[in-house]
Amino acid sequence: MSEISFTDVAFRYQESGDFYVLQNLNVRFQSARITVLTGASGCGKSTLLYLAAGIYPENAGVLSSGSVKIDGDDPSELPPNLRCRRVGMMFQNPALQFCMDTVRNELAFCLENVSIPREEMGSIIDGALRFCCIEHLKDRKLLTLSGGEKQKVMLACLAALSPTWILLDEPFANLDDRSARDIAAKLGQLHRERGTGILAVDHRLENWLGVADEIKGMDKMGNLIAEGLTLSVHEGKDSRDSDALKRCSTAAPGSSYPFLRHKKTPQESLPEPLLRLKNITVSYTGTPVLRGLNADFSQGKSYALLGESGSGKSTLFDVLRGLAPFDGELFYRGSAVRKRELGRPGPIGFVTQNPQDQFVSDTVYDEILTSLKSKAKTNAINQKASKLITSVQKAEENQVESILRGIGLWGHRRVSPYMLSQGQQRRLGVAAILACGCEILFCDEPTYAQDWNNTIAIMAALENEMKDRGTTLIFSTHDRKLAADFADEIFELKEGTLLEHDQSIR
């Protein structure tokens, strides 16, 4: 039995100033119980995890009082090669955690670090791969693996090092539900077979059903406000626990999204589709990703795009942004779109999977202003009245203020977009694209790694846009519940083509 304990911890990122991320924090995690930690975005969950892993305060921030201990030892004082036997970590971004080229070399790298004798390495590597059911990947290059496969390799690394604790920071944010459940189940198995302590930070609890023993929750200020919650499969059965979760900005599994949408039935749609994709084919280095994909999108409707990770959702969006070379045809309002016009400012707007991919300005304020200007420019060209631009300037400045107040970022207007938290960046990204005034919006996982309240706020903003301006929305997501509650039509990307979901899944 092992224990991670936080005693009177106060932690802040700036050396001066009084913005403490964690203050007076007292909490214990027992290796006997698989624990999931949840809470609003920006409340300090990752910070807590990094402290437990001994990564902070070595790499960032100041621990101004209190102590973090694993069975009496301070993890940040252990040298890395001893520390990794106590705590292993799995990160959110699967692409940024490897240093070698192939799966086998990566595992060997881990074992070399802790001076395992050479003769033993082969069998440990095979055992770890077998445990994760990825023996077939042994000599694959890491680059060619999908996100889910990368996370499994990471798990294999942890299984090989066999630490007392495994800490996970939103490990499933980039994965589809099936890979997520596979990995969660493997973690449960590690826990049972070797007694490994598991502590995970996650917003979506579905994937932990039947695995997690306990949920702990934090409030916006970084205080621990809920402990000992359990997950129940049936919605509303244990209302005490789901209320407590709501206060941590997390929903119990299976909760419905509170959208008061009037869903459009197919009959209501216009006869002429706004955007038509015909026979879109994309292949990367010989392997086809999209094969002859056809789709019609009608004005004013919302479409959800489901699909396993690696099925080509982002690739489809890249086609429309002019980023992926493709074969096939596109029609907008019935007329063909030339390939080199893709990606220019125009009627189609994109929210990228990673919000940082779309920032172009130094400040939050300018980010919105750029969008408004781009919109004014396109309008002016259309109306052949460029003189108007200057007089519009003043009106735009007022508009920026109302937009930023709307997403609660007016106070942050002078900071760089990169300084915002994950959730704030996502809201800014959506708002900036909405300000462009596009007729079709493509949102690549708009609610990815968001807490419950942010998810609702983002979807509500999109909903408003559709209601006010008749915008068409196409969004990809791994959250089937969100798709069912929000979309008029659901498509699933499978084997390179779009399948329309039948209505019964709702």
Binding site: Q14, A60, W410, R414, V415, S416, Y418, M419
Partner: protein, 203 residues
């Protein structure tokens, strides 16, 4: 700096900048190739690469700006050369040597100010020194002394210009932009702290 010891993070930062600028260089290189093809009939094709020469010292200047420790500029350039070698660079094994020579030039630019100044002046100086060092080296190594002195001089001037533009001006502007975003806080460089205030918002 209070801590001159290099951390793993610093070395990764240097290598990543090496990879990044190797990629930028390759992209610009193909642009230079087109230009060079256009200029070939006039015999001025060598100038097209002189024009972009400064891109290659950017990795050094940027790394030194971010990490601010002695030796960073030199090692970054050598690491960048190592990356180029791994990529299958046409120049062959000597890139490591040229990397060392260029890095040394950049390093001296910062050393001249005792690693106290990381500004336009030191960055440009580093670039110019790197450009001259590598020029002297190429004089012998590529037997450039076979070329007419007038042409050599013109080449050198274009290279200086390129160094001042890329290694000096563009690197400096990009780095300042970087510092303003606040991500360099861990490196003790935080221009944003005095300027930017986050206001509490009433709900």
């Amino acid at each position: 700096m209070k801590n001159d010891q290099w951390k793993l993070r610093d070395i990764l930062m240097m290598s990543i900048l090496g990879v990044l600028f190797a990629a930028v260089y390759l992209a610009v290189f193909s642009g230079g190739m087109v230009l060079s093809a256009l200029l070939t009939p006039t015999g001025l094709s060598t100038f097209s690469f002189e024009l972009i020469y400064g891109v290659w010292f950017m990795a050094s200047a940027v790394a030194a700006y971010i990490i601010r420790k002695p030796g960073v500029a030199l090692i970054t350039e050598v690491l960048a050369a190592g990356v180029e070698l791994l990529m299958g660079n046409a120049g062959g094994l000597v890139v490591i040597l040229t990397g060392f020579i260029q890095g040394l030039g950049c390093e001296l630019g910062f050393a001249a100010f005792r690693y106290k100044k990381f500004n336009l002046l030191s960055m440009t100086l580093g670039g110019i020194l790197a450009a001259s060092f590598i020029f002297v080296y190429e004089l012998y190594y590529l037997q450039n002394y076979l070329l007419a002195p007038g042409l050599l001089f013109a080449k050198l001037m274009v290279r200086f210009l390129s160094a001042a533009l890329f290694t000096g001006l563009i690197s400096k502007l990009a780095c300042d932009g970087l510092a303003r975003t606040g991500v360099l806080k861990n490196y003790g460089i935080d221009l944003s702290r005095q300027e930017v205030l986050i206001e509490r918002e009433e709900e």
